[in-house]
């Protein structure tokens, strides 16, 4: 580890924390339907969208109606993407003449992008036409991000409203998120990325004749990269335009573009904590939630950075310690411009948030570094988390924390004036239990099957188990990063990971909306001396405790057979 590495972490953190309040206020204004400075340009477009799609923007929905709209939009937009993939050879913007995507891969990819996962079983530059990338995939980067924010704000309304049957209008929440947040931010951001060197064109791949061997050729894949890159990060989607994702110099050419990408992953999830505090009239609560997230994030980064900066015990004769002119450490699967520190920071951020973009190959991380990024996902994608989904995820943890605090003092728990009763805890537990059930059940089946599971492994020994465990954790957590040595482009992996991603997204949103509806219908009770305050350091500590204990109890046995075992046997000199 180096002082400069920590300086990069500090710089990132300061900029992020400074953004929380302004971003949170702006998001609250957009989602509460208040005026913003973009109104003059965007309000007519907003009204036009409602008109063209037949939306009554004044209509308020109850939670069931809201959930049906979420499912309806997800289903229709998923079918659209599937159709585009299957028909791309007949569609425009396909200068490479790429053929139709096979049915199992098209299903997997459609599910993946609809659910904000962006798991990629394919090599994009040889599989997806520009049309598919733009309309089939990047479109979902907007759509799934807006769905996440919509559900989160519906839950906030549930907390805030009293004796109400409704939690907002899904179409209005979506449209305002698109127009006032994601599109303008992506436009500016995409151009900044082009300024750093990210390509943006629609031409066929370039054939280059290398300097040393001009008779050979190098085919340089390009495309509308910057526009996709911007929303891929802002929407915590993470699906790369190229196979190497944000490690590819065309996606992420400079250390500055790397910093921008890291910030853009966290900026909306972090801002939403302030939105929560503002909309519920309890700013301290928003800060307490943010503090819990930040503690877990810092602990994750410190561990990954420490692990990755270590020299490999079995390699001799190389310079493996950091200097001013070489980063040292574990450079397999990392890029020189980012080195160890920025790569470790990116790996932590992308797994804390359900982004899944990568600047280093997670399969080649050290056993402990790889374990931390896996744990980040296993915590339920609540450490900042996906846009929107991170906030509603951690609010489920908040309900459980408040419930546990209530049990300790023997009182009916309250949360921001709402009594937390059996129904609320049941919905929260449903959310918390669906997640590990999907991960562990699918992992168990695939680990036990030599033909459909183990034949895809790239690495043997305990690391092989981790490859499969990581795949299903990433799918259920809607993360999308991978231990990419695993060949997931097989019928069984494609189909089952498709279901995993859909269950990890839609099945978990329904209890959230049910909770929102139930909370909205309750009366508000004034705080009493027995109320557990949710804006204190004690509360943040309890919240961290609940998250850590819950995921540790669930996943420790699996982790001990995977990365922990790998670490121990590697230290003992055993390779596979």
């Amino acid at each position: 580890m180096s002082a400069n590495g920590w300086l990069q972490f500090a710089l990132f953190s300061v900029i992020l924390l400074a953004s929380v309040r302004p971003v949170g206020i702006y998001l609250a204004r957009v989602l509460e339907g208040e005026r913003t400075w973009l109104d003059r340009v965007l309000h007519p477009i907003e009204r036009l969208i409602y008109k063209l799609s037949g939306v009554d923007s004044a209509h308020e929905m109850n939670w069931r109606e809201y959930a049906f709209a979420v499912l309806g939009f997800s289903a229709v937009s998923m079918v659209l993407t599937y159709a585009i993939e299957r028909l791309q050879q007949f569609l425009p913007f396909n200068p490479q003449g790429l053929a139709a995507v096979g049915p199992d891969l098209a299903w997997n990819t459609a599910a993946s992008f609809t659910t904000n996962t962006n798991w990629q079983s394919y090599v994009p530059e040889t599989t997806m036409s520009y049309f598919t990338q733009m309309v089939g995939l990047a479109y979902h980067n907007f759509g799934s991000a807006a769905v996440g924010i919509a559900v989160a704000v519906a839950l906030i309304r549930g907390i805030k409203r009293t004796t109400s049957t409704t939690i907002g209008n899904f179409w209005v929440d979506m449209t305002r998120t698109f127009l006032y947040v994601l599109v303008p931010a992506s436009l500016v951001y995409a151009l900044l990325l082009v300024g750093q060197g990210v390509p943006q064109n629609l031409k066929a791949y370039t054939t280059a004749h290398p300097l040393e061997q001009p008779k050979q050729t190098q085919t340089i894949a390009q495309g509308p990269v910057a526009s996709q890159e911007a929303i891929k990060m802002l929407g915590t989607n993470g699906g790369g335009f190229f196979n190497a994702n944000s490690a590819h110099p065309f996606e992420n050419p400079t250390p500055l573009s790397n910093l921008l990408q890291m910030l853009s992953i966290f900026i909306i999830p972090a801002g939403l904590t302030y939105t929560l505090g503002r909309m519920t009239g309890s700013p301290g609560h928003g800060w307490a939630v943010l503090a819990a997230m930040f503690v877990l994030f810092t602990a994750g980064f410190a561990t990954v950075y420490w692990a990755e900066a270590h020299p490999h015990a079995l390699i001799h004769g190389a310079a493996q310690t950091a200097t001013l002119t070489a980063p040292g450490g574990n450079m397999e699967g990392k890029e020189v411009r980012n080195g160890i520190a920025a790569s470790s920071l990116f790996a932590t951020i992308t797994t804390d948030a359900s982004c899944g973009a990568v600047t280093s190959m997670h399969d080649s991380l050290t056993p402990l570094g790889g374990m931390v990024v896996l744990i980040n996902i296993m915590m339920g994608e609540v450490v900042f988390g996906g846009v929107g989904s991170g906030l509603y995820g951690i609010l489920i943890m908040v309900v459980l924390a408040v419930f546990i605090a209530g049990l300790m003092v023997g009182r009916t728990p309250e949360y921001l004036g709402k009594k937390i009763e059996a129904y609320d805890v049941k919905m929260s537990m449903l959310y918390v239990l669906i997640f590990p059930l999907i991960i562990l059940a699918f992992t168990a089946v695939f680990v036990l099957s030599p033909t459909i599971g183990l034949s895809s492994l790239a690495n043997q020994g305990p690391h092989g188990l981790t490859e499969i465990l990581y795949a299903y954790t990433s799918g259920a957590g809607n993360n999308g990063s991978a231990f990419a040595g695993l060949n997931a482009n097989t019928w069984w992996y494609n189909v089952m990971l498709g279901w995993t991603m859909l269950a990890g997204r839609l099945l978990m949103m329904i209890p959230v909306l049910a909770l929102a509806g139930n909370l909205a219908s309750k009366k508000s009770v004034p705080p009493s001396p027995g109320t557990f305050p949710v804006n204190t350091g004690l509360f943040a500590t309890l919240l961290v405790g609940v998250i850590v204990i819950l995921s540790a109890l669930t996943f420790f046995p699996a982790l001990s057979l995977g990365p922990i075992l790998e670490h121990l046997v590697l230290k003992a000199g055993q390779v596979f």
Binding site: V123, L191, A208, Q218, A326, L570
Partner: protein, 188 residues
Amino acid sequence: MHSVWKTSIRYTLVTAVLLGLGYPLVVTGIAGVLLPHKAGGSLILKDGQVIGSELLAQSFTSDRYFHPRPSAAGSGYDASASGGSNLAQSSKTLVDRIQGSIDKLSAENPGLPVPIDMVTTSASGLDPDVTPDNAIFQARRISKARGIDEDRIRKLVQQHVISRQLGVLGEARVNVLELNLDLDKMTK
């Protein structure tokens, strides 16, 4: 229920046109006008022919040129099949490969510790950079092959070192293709 489906279909079509086509085409238009070189992939031309991109590694194997990091992209430096080795730290293949490369380089350059980036594949397989240590390590070989004084080669490397961006971000590095282009301009 009926109206949910109808709204979903209409809404998806309207927003797909706006966000899926409108947005990227607007960015393409603006970028193409304001930053044509970068939007076009930062290509380098020599005698009217594209020789590569500033941002992407390409293969160099002769003793006369600086070598980029090893590549796992396709069959090596394939700019249409980016990717890493994805080998685990506990992989025998990986440990044997790295140790084999180190032993070979140490035998050719006795007494010099081998920079670790020289024997590890990058994440993209297209990493255009090497560390300054890596480039300096190669100076002796190039000096012999070209018959140019080693100090002059080292000086050229020093001129090509890109420091941390804004003084803080990332790591110091040397772009191999640009370095090799300038190397070709050197006279004995």
